[in-house]
Amino acid sequence: MTEFAIQTQDLQYRPGPGFEIRDLSLRVREGAIYGFLGPNGAGKTTTIQLLLGLRRAQGGSMRILGREAPRELPRILSATGYVPERPHLYTYLTVAQAIRYHGAFYERFDWAYAEDLRRGFQLPQGASISRLSKGEVGKLLILLVLAQRPDLLVLDEPTDGLDPVVRRDVLTALLDFCAQRAATVFISSHLVHELERICDWIGVMDRGRLTAELPMHAFKNGIKRIRLAHAPSLVGDTPFTLVSRESSGLDVVWVVRGWQPPMVQWFQGVGAEILEVVDLDLEEGFVELLRGARSAQAI
């Protein structure tokens, strides 16, 4: 077993003018719950499709679950549970038929566990999928992949459009599975608050590039909004990364990345006074990071 469940090196993919995935190097540790963040159109779904062989990368290399992709994809996919962005179920099947159909593809499919989940989710066996609510379809999709007992779960917006009660049920089932089994979860979502609770690693995509990849605690603690008086107008070397700055009245607000408390000394050195250091939560940190990355590109 390797240390990384997913490892890509300089993936390149350019389906046409206007969009490309460039130099994508992802590292997803085994056993991590990895939150894959990014605005709409950043390339999250495309990346997932590249990983799972649904699109072919034009350059770079990938290893998934210790195997080379796409060469060893069948072996990789047999141990991977994938919930795509749009449901892929045959709507003329019943719940029980869908479970039998899906399960038939997977050697390790755990029929008893599937039945437990079905009861827990209160999905009627005989109900036709065409008659299920959106929430019930969401539950059925997660049931199918969990019962595969996969080593890797790839979930593309698994709770998008579901109501809070269903979201909670789906996440609870997912976490219960993770606690039983050291599976790796790669979860893409723009519901940032949801990820904040469960993820231990964060990757941020923007415009086809990975702009950040770090442990959740580093992400959350490293990004701060600092309100300053007498801020220097010219900034030379800083011990942190200056993500953005703006002034509001007499005060100047800097957003910095890679912050550590001893860095207050740097401000004393340049004659600035720190009025306030504000912690950012994941969502604010995410927004600031994207803003910073975009203004840097614009320059």
């Binding site: 719950i33 993770c178 904040e196």
Partner: protein
């Protein structure tokens, strides 16, 4: 802000999701620290009695919707600090702590609450004298 420092009677209920309503994923304090602090206090106040089993990692993670690794880390810290012990195959149990230890833990939490209150008040421009006056008014007759 709610400041209630009361000593609970022992109950025989397992700590459930309700105990963790106040954990805040958006806070810069890591979730595992928040969970451990909450349990530490519950043990110190007697909210969870000695020898009571804690929920399994699997149960608690699913119930409060956090990463199982987070719960593992909380339990590890609590065990290191002598609040709980895990017995192979049987689960994790609350240890019987001497009263001085429990009292010092409650005092620690009290200091934390006051520090938070003072910081918040000073941020809002309320003076220490005003807080002290308000404190007296609120706590009178409660002792």
């Amino acid at each position: 802000m709610c400041v209630s420092v009361s000593v609970h009677q022992y109950t025989n209920e397992r700590p459930g999701a309700a105990m963790f309503h106040h954990i805040d994923p958006r806070s810069p304090i890591p979730l595992y620290v928040q969970i451990a602090s909450r349990l530490r206090l519950a043990i110190a106040t007697g909210e969870i009695a000695p020898a009571m089993p804690l929920p399994s990692v699997r149960q608690l993670a699913a119930e409060i919707r956090v990463n199982p690794a987070t719960v593992v880390q909380s339990y590890r810290d609590l065990e290191r600090d002598g609040f709980i012990e895990s017995r192979q195959g049987a689960g994790t149990f609350v240890r019987n702590l001497a009263e001085p230890r429990r009292s010092s833990e409650r005092q620690r939490e009290a200091r934390r609450l006051v520090r938070e209150l003072v910081a918040e008040a000073s941020g809002l421009g309320i003076t220490t004298a005003e807080i002290e006056q308000a404190w007296k008014n609120e706590t009178e007759g409660r002792r």
